[in-house]
């Protein structure tokens, strides 16, 4: 049997809780060609260079199919891109100029500036109210699940409100998202029978989810309502309007991204702080550290560990390697954020870290669209958790992880507590 590369090992489910030792090995070859022809980039400098390189495409339609050579014992082509390609492009799978135009249209309605700079900050009272409610609900408990009862409900409620998605539909799209996420596997286990059957389910889920988004937009086209989606359907001048398909695809993206990444970030933040009682105590004493602290948590356990839809449109010479035209490129953010060439003592959690330009939200033109909202949510949630939860202790370490490698996060984080302060 062929020996596994550090990258393949990092992707094994058994290593989900701690992929970092494998990343460390991976960084010895900053740009590493994988057996399947993919180039995995694991060092900070190189990733940043590629994020700003106009010879790198994010358009999945430009990806050579199949991405992967069929894994051992399987005739299946790489599944993920197919499922994604079946949707219309959205802002993460587009290149300029389409990317720039669509993102430009969405920005003022979501992140605000320059037209409505207070869009996000005005949500703060609402976010506080939700977080307070979640913590109030724990009063009287001695144990709770920081994922199901804390990390999950906040981002979901907020994104539904921002986008104008009825909260009562949440269970439906939640299960589609879970199914789709569980179907993605980039590691050596992808070929297993189990993954193959999950894959079929995942494709169905993506399709149904796409239909859901399209229906919702149709409804808003007939009768405008609150939130960003309705605004995107109704407020544009005719020449600027996105096609229905592209709109639906972006709607799906926003629901999905607003749903998943923040959940993992809050869950990881709680987990990380419970593993570092000194940091937790420091944050309790100096609540103002929440702002740099959240940046450090983003660096330490970045929500998106790597991104997989980029490819080289030309030959690119980088770090002594030529990424040939047409090759898929995986950018390993989770590794870059622990690169000792960029961050001193990268495996230490330092809430006061200076010069913390992590890649937790990526960089360049695809910089996370929801970053301002995510920051605010996590700052409020983690800040209040630290302030109100009495003597929290991890029940199980490491906790069980979800299957997905990109949106890596714990499935449950059980916490024992003495109580909840007011």
């Amino acid at each position: 049997m062929v020996e596994e590369t550090p990258w393949q090992q990092a992707l094994r489910y058994a290593n989900r809780a701690n992929p970092y030792p494998f990343y460390e090995e991976l960084r010895r070859t900053p740009v590493a060609r994988q057996p399947d022809g993919t180039y995995v980039v694991s060092t900070y400098q190189e990733i940043v260079a590629l994020l700003h390189d106009p010879r790198v495409s994010s358009d999945v339609r430009k990806l050579p199919v199949p991405v992967a050579a069929p894994a051992e014992g399987s005739a299946e082509a790489e599944p993920i891109t197919e499922a994604v390609i079946s949707l219309e492009p959205n802002i993460i799978t587009q290149d300029p100029p389409e990317h720039d135009r669509d993102r430009r249209m969405m920005t003022p309605r979501f992140v605000g500036p320059p037209h409505s700079p207070h869009l996000i900050s005005d949500l703060e009272p609402e976010i506080r109210r939700i977080v307070d409610g979640l913590l109030d609900n724990m009063q009287g408990k001695t144990r709770f699940d920081a994922v199901d009862e804390f990390a999950y409900p906040l981002p979901v409620t907020v994104i539904c409100k921002v986008l104008g998605v009825p909260l009562e539909d949440e269970p439906r799209f939640h299960s589609w998202i879970e199914t789709a996420l569980d179907a993605l596997d980039f590691g050596p286990e992808a070929a297993s029978e189990e993954m193959q059957s999950r894959l079929a389910g995942g494709r169905r889920a993506v399709q149904e989810f796409g239909q859901f988004a399209a229906d919702l937009l149709d409804r808003y086209a007939r009768q405008p309502g609150p939130g960003m989606l309705s605004a995107m359907v109704n407020e544009d001048g005719p020449e600027e309007r996105m096609s229905q398909g592209v709109l639906a695809s972006n709607a799906l993206l926003l629901i999905f991204a607003g749903h998943e990444t923040t959940v993992n970030l809050i869950a990881h933040s709680v987990l990380t702080l419970l593993r570092h009682p000194d940091a937790l105590e420091k944050l309790r004493r100096r609540p103002e550290l929440i702002v740099p602290g959240v940046e450090e948590l983003l660096r330490f356990e970045s929500s998106v560990q790597f991104w997989h839809t980029r490819s080289a449109v030309e030959d690119i010479d980088i770090a002594g390697t030529t990424i040939p035209k047409g090759a898929p490129i995986f950018l390993a953010y989770g590794s870059a954020n622990r690169d000792p060439q960029r961050f001193t003592d990268p495996d230490e959690l330092d809430l006061e870290r200076c010069d913390n330009q992590h890649l937790g939200f990526s960089q360049g033109i695809h910089f996370c669209f929801g970053a301002p909202l995510a920051r605010l949510e996590v700052q409020v949630a983690v800040g209040e958790f630290v302030r109100r939860v009495q003597n929290p202790r991890l029940v199980e370490d490491p906790p069980p992880y979800r299957h997905n490698q990109i949106f890596r996060g714990p499935r449950h984080v059980l916490v024992d507590i003495d109580g909840i302060h007011d």
Binding site: H52, D53, P54, R55, S57, P96, P97, V313, G364, I365
Partner: protein, 467 residues
């Protein structure tokens, strides 16, 4: 004690009890002071500034302040750390005595130093005819007070504003006027706006942008005189082609003058283009010998740059002030081999007519230009400047996110034309002449100037011996 130990002791002693004086209490001065403290300097620190204000930020003055979004007195620079300095604000330095190591102040006082940082920046070039410059309604814009006055004048809805000089600041003022729906005429001696900084090809695009936004732009012309009414208020300008423009607000944006007069007689290499220094910020004397105790940073400094054939660069850029100050301050409290160079790749941004313009490198060093990304029609593009087959600068219009890529290429002396992008290619990717004006033609002075000459050009003439 060994010599080495003695030197180390001296450095320790200086850091603990030395006296450092900074002249110029603005961006470079403040950032230098903060760096000195961050580097562990605990001696006495005096900061001398002729403006009565604590350090404030200038870029917003010609943008947010003029629009009325931010009051001029709300531009104070954020403090990065405690500087614990003796601030002498509202008093100018008038002389430098290097023998006794003292800075002379306008109020007659003398301030002794062990090490001195010169950060006196530049001032606005005034309209050359003093009586016309004194007319009510004639403005320049450099300081907080300038901006406050001009903002007030614009808020009173003048019938027309005349902007003389279409460099970055003049163009920004014109843009603000249009945003406020004030009629504006721009007169530029060069062939187009921004030609000094970005060349004629980009200048032509800037010109179209101005005209599309309703600016009455007149290039290749000068203003010969300003005319006031009996109340001493400016009313009219006479142009070099014999025409006139009626305006009740005139903004002279004629470039800047380096604040070096106070250094006269000091024996430093100070002149029209600023104070010469090495790449570590150490000032040169008039013989080209580096000094040990005097440093320079910010707009007033000019230093050789390795990427530009060691020509001296004077850069009137925010980044340059910050990074130059940090390097100079570091070197002031360290010794060889721990000196650091200030090898910033110049960079600039400007906002006008709804477009974010950024550049990196030194465009006037280039003689060719090629559009590399995007679309000129849509005013969203990137273009690269080349010299001798390598890329030396780039400019973006609403494409700033790609600047980092070009910056890397420039640092690596990458090829020109640069490798084509994979998507969003402009229809025409053929290099053309960048059309910078002949440096001898007077025009708005660019913000980055090459003040040396390339040795290979052999343009200097040596005089024959006469005896």
């Amino acid at each position: 004690m060994t010599l080495r130990a003695t030197v180390e002791e001296l450095v320790r002693e200086f850091r603990a009890n030395g006296r450092i004086v900074i002249v110029g209490a603005s961006l470079a001065g403040l950032r230098a002071a903060e760096t000195l403290r961050a580097e562990g300097f605990t001696g006495s620190l005096t900061i001398i500034g002729d403006e009565p204000y604590e350090p404030y930020d200038r870029p917003p003055l010609s943008k947010q302040v003029l629009k009325g979004w931010v009051p001029a007195d709300h531009t104070k620079l954020p403090r990065m750390r405690e500087v614990d300095a003796d601030w002498r604000l509202g008093v100018a330095a008038t002389g430098l005595d290097r023998d006794t190591k003292q800075v002379r102040l306008a109020d007659g006082e003398q301030v002794p130093y062990d090490r001195l940082l010169i950060a006196t920046g530049t001032r606005a070039r005034q309209w050359p005819n003093p009586s016309e410059a004194a007319l009510y309604g004639v403005h320049t814009i450099r300081s907080r007070d300038d901006a406050a006055q001009l903002q007030k004048a614009l808020a009173e809805s003048p019938s027309r504003v005349l902007v003389i000089g279409a460099g970055f600041i003049g163009s920004e003022v014109a843009s603000v006027c249009r945003e406020l729906d004030i009629p504006v005429t721009v007169v530029e001696r060069g062939s187009a706006p921004l030609v000094g900084a970005l060349g004629g090809v980009i200048g032509e695009i800037a010109a179209q942008m101005q005209r599309e936004h309703g600016v009455d732009l007149r290039c290749g012309l000068g203003v010969s005189s300003l005319e006031g009414d009996s109340g001493g208020h400016v009313r009219r300008a006479h142009l070099s082609d014999g025409t006139t423009v009626d305006a009740d607000v005139v903004v002279a944006s004629l470039g800047s003058i380096r604040n070096v007069e106070w250094l006269e007689g000091s024996g430093l290499a100070a002149g029209f283009w600023g104070v010469g220094c090495d790449a570590g910020g150490r000032a040169f004397d008039i013989n080209g010998v580096v000094t040990d105790s005097i440093y320079v940073a910010g707009d007033v400094a000019r230093a050789p740059h390795v990427l530009y054939e060691y020509q001296f660069l004077a850069m009137e850029h925010w980044d340059n002030a910050v990074l130059g100050a940090e390097v100079a301050a570091h070197n002031m409290v360290n010794l060889e081999p721990n000196y650091r160079p200030h090898l910033l790749l110049p960079g600039f941004w400007s906002g006008q007519f709804g477009v974010n313009i950024k550049s990196v490198g030194v465009p006037p060093f280039g003689d060719e230009i090629v559009f590399t990304q995007g679309s000129v029609e849509e005013r969203r593009f990137a273009a690269a400047y080349g010299h001798g087959g390598r890329i030396v600068a780039a400019v973006t219009f609403d494409h700033g996110k790609w600047l980092e890529y070009y910056g890397k290429l420039i640092e690596q002396s990458g090829p020109f034309p640069p490798p084509p992008p994979g998507w969003d290619q402009p229809p025409d990717m053929k290099p053309v002449p960048a059309e910078f004006p002949d440096p001898r033609v007077p025009t708005a002075i660019p913000d980055v100037v090459l003040t040396g000459h390339a040795p290979s050009e052999r343009t200097a003439e040596f005089r024959p011996r006469r005896h």
